[in-house]
């Protein structure tokens, strides 16, 4: 990808506060109209990166390009971005309309143009009845709509979202998530979205960048991130409950872990390791087969049920496998009791194998 068709392009970005390196030699190109999610646990640098893109933090080194312009030293308001914050950050003493128009008035946009843009944003977000109210009189969901509206009226190419749904309750969050997706489909703007919630990331993103320690661990579509995590960190981070990992060795077409030899016939190696390579295999709870599906499983074994956790739609089973705790997911209608012995099947082709030392995918 070249800078021309990139909407936002980050080149060799470094940011340190004193001796602490928050972002390290970061490179990222975001395509025009793409919905990119920056995902990671707190302190991974995702919000910092967003603030650097917005111009609210200065990088130590490197460049930011937006729409083919180097904006590294430009003011936030000059960058052609709109931003939506976690705490909404609405100006409490201004009406909704005042909030929406503050930036336009600062930029001395003509009055009728302001009117037109506010009307359009209010219509898209269905906040027309709220325009004369103060933020204090709005619910959380309404406030966040206004905050999105404030970005919308700026008529910009790039929207930045900093955990915009985190302050909302679970139901509202799910509703607004869908609305955001629809908004993106309508506007086709570039959107960069920071979150620590993997459900938001998986549902919203065209591509996800998983960050850790100021570096991008993997950049890919949700399916790639989920199906072929590039390293153990990503594998562990994505999926709930997360993968169970077993240390062992890869020997040709067999992965040896304590007491079990898993056949690797169908596993797509990225780079095939030599015989006896120490490796780690990660198995997702939802990829364990039981009951009728067992027939297609390349490997079967018996376990004793330690604990049953019914979740409604499905049921989590806790047990021990190869000397360590193991859990897997069954259909919610399955009837299993503690102490029962059942047969489970594992398909190593759907598992992920990592080099034990580098923790990179094999």
């Amino acid at each position: 990808m070249t800078v021309e068709n990139a909407s936002v392009s980050i080149k060799n970005l470094d940011l340190s506060f004193g001796a602490v390196k928050v972002l390290q030699n970061l490179n990222l190109d975001i395509v025009d109209g793409e919905f990119l999610v920056l995902l990671g646990s707190s302190g991974c640098g995702k919000s910092t990166l967003l603030n650097v893109i917005a111009g609210l933090l200065e990088p130590t080194d490197g460049q930011i390009w937006i729409k083919g312009k180097n904006v590294t030293w430009a003011e936030p308001s000059e960058r052609g971005i709109g931003m939506v914050f976690q705490s909404y950050a609405l100006y409490p003493q201004m009406t909704v309309e005042g909030n929406l128009t503050f930036g336009l008035r600062n930029a001395r946009v003509p009055k009728d143009e302001i009117k037109r843009r506010v009307a359009r944003a209010a219509e898209i977000l269905q906040i027309e009845p709220l325009l004369k109210r103060k933020p204090g009189a709005l619910s959380g969901g309404q406030r966040q709509r206004v905050a999105i509206g404030r970005a919308l009226v700026r008529d910009v190419d790039v929207f930045l979202f900093d955990e915009p749904l985190s302050n909302l309750d679970a139901k509202l969050r799910a509703d607004l998530r869908v609305e955001l997706k629809l908004l993106h489909n309508n506007l086709e703007n570039t959107m960069i979205y920071v979150t620590h919630d993997q459900v938001e990331a998986m549902t919203l993103a065209d591509r996800i960048a998983i960050m850790k320690g100021g570096k991008i661990m993997q950049l890919g579509t949700p399916a790639e991130i989920y199906g072929t995590p590039q390293n153990k960190y990503v594998a562990d981070f994505i999926g709930s409950p997360s993968m169970t990992f077993y240390d062992g060795t890869v020997d040709g077409t067999v992965m040896k872990i304590e007491g079990h030899d898993l056949p690797l016939g169908a596993y797509q190696f990225t780079n095939r390791p030599g015989p006896g390579t120490p490796a780690t295999i990660g198995i997702r709870p939802e990829h364990v087969m039981t009951g009728d599906n067992l027939r297609s499983a390349p490997y079967q074994t018996d376990i004793t049920v330690d604990l049953v956790e019914p979740m409604g739609s499905d049921t989590l089973i806790y047990c021990h496998l190869a000397g360590q705790p193991f859990r897997f997911r069954m259909d919610g209608s399955a009837v299993v009791r503690k102490g029962e012995r059942i047969t489970i099947g594992i398909d190593p082709a759907r598992a992920s194998i990592f080099d034990k030392d580098t923790e990179e995918r094999l």
Binding site: Q63, N70, W73, A74
Partner: protein
């Protein structure tokens, strides 16, 4: 404000205007000019100036004729200065203990969810709104031996009652202390009350379930939890004690004789009364040293300890 350089591979050096370091955030720097002037010229500069001139023989006017430590030698051989220091030590010790004990006790009593808390609080705190001059003059009047408190108690029948601190060199500092505590304990009570209110309600619930008595809960659990509040109070009281001046001027004028002199008053007399600037500078430098003796352990505990922890 357009970015002119849009070549995809433009080198880092080729990019437009990086503002000069000095002019970045310029509005903020200009807005802070009064602060910078006050901090650097008045506070820092003034302090250094006084310390430097305390080593000179300045009299009526400040002059840079070096005189070594002789101002300090004269200071410490002055009877009035020694009395001032002793007085400050007595006042400081009892004021510190008294303010902390009274302030905490009142705060704890007010924290017992009592009726009329607001009324009691206003009564305890209003003296803090008054100046030391007003405080000193009122208590001078109340402690007036012929017409004040002593006279009233004698009229009530206790004819041998004797309480005349303002005319008795032995206890004059306690006369000042009564007024000082009256003026200042309300502040500490308020701070302590804020501290008590900041303590998690669940602590009280846990202590109640464990069957620990109220007084014991305060002593064993609450007070240790309020360490930062006590430290703040200590610093405030300490800084106030060293500055003690107006109260003495109004209530006793340093008398009887020199028996209620304090360092701040010594400085003022030397500088503006006695045309003896060098003495004033040396004495005020000693006051600065006293403050540092109070502040350094605190600063060490507050900031030094945190780095290790």
């Amino acid at each position: 404000m357009t970015m002119t350089d849009s070549r995809p591979d433009a080198g880092r050096s080729a990019v437009t205007r990086r503002p000069m370091r000095l002019f970045r955030n310029l509005s903020s720097k200009l807005a802070l000019m009064p602060l910078i002037f006050t901090a650097v010229v008045i506070f820092l500069g003034g302090t250094i100036w006084t310390i430097v001139y305390s080593f000179t023989s300045s009299g009526l006017l400040p002059r840079l004729n070096w005189d070594g430590l002789s101002q300090y030698e004269r200071l410490w051989s002055s009877r009035k200065w020694i009395v001032s220091i002793e007085n400050l030590a007595i006042y400081g010790f009892f004021s510190l203990i008294g303010t902390l004990v009274v302030g905490f006790t009142l705060a704890a009593l007010l924290d017992r969810k009592i009726r009329g808390e607001a009324v009691f609080r206003s009564i305890f705190l209003y003296p803090f709104a008054l100046s030391f001059i007003v405080t000193g003059l009122v208590w001078q009047w109340i402690l007036n031996p012929e017409l004040g408190l002593q006279n009233v108690v004698r009229e009530w029948g206790w004819t041998s009652f004797n309480f005349d601190p303002l005319n008795n060199p032995e206890i004059v500092m306690f006369g000042l202390l009564i007024a000082g505590l009256w003026q200042g304990t309300g502040l500490i009570m308020c701070i302590m009350l804020a501290g008590l209110r900041g303590i998690d309600e669940d602590i009280w619930k846990a202590a109640r379930v464990d069957g620990i008595g109220t007084v014991k809960t305060y002593i064993r659990i609450i007070i240790p939890m309020m360490r930062p509040v006590f430290v703040t109070s200590l610093v405030l009281i300490g800084a106030g004690i060293v500055k003690l001046y107006d109260l003495v001027v109004a209530q006793t004028s340093g008398g009887p004789g020199i028996s209620s002199e304090v360092p701040a008053k010594y400085v003022m007399t030397a500088m503006f009364g006695g045309q003896n600037l060098g003495q004033g500078f040396a004495a005020s430098t000693m006051m600065l040293v006293m403050v540092f003796i109070i502040l350094i352990p605190w600063a060490y505990l507050e900031f030094g300890g945190r780095k290790n922890g």
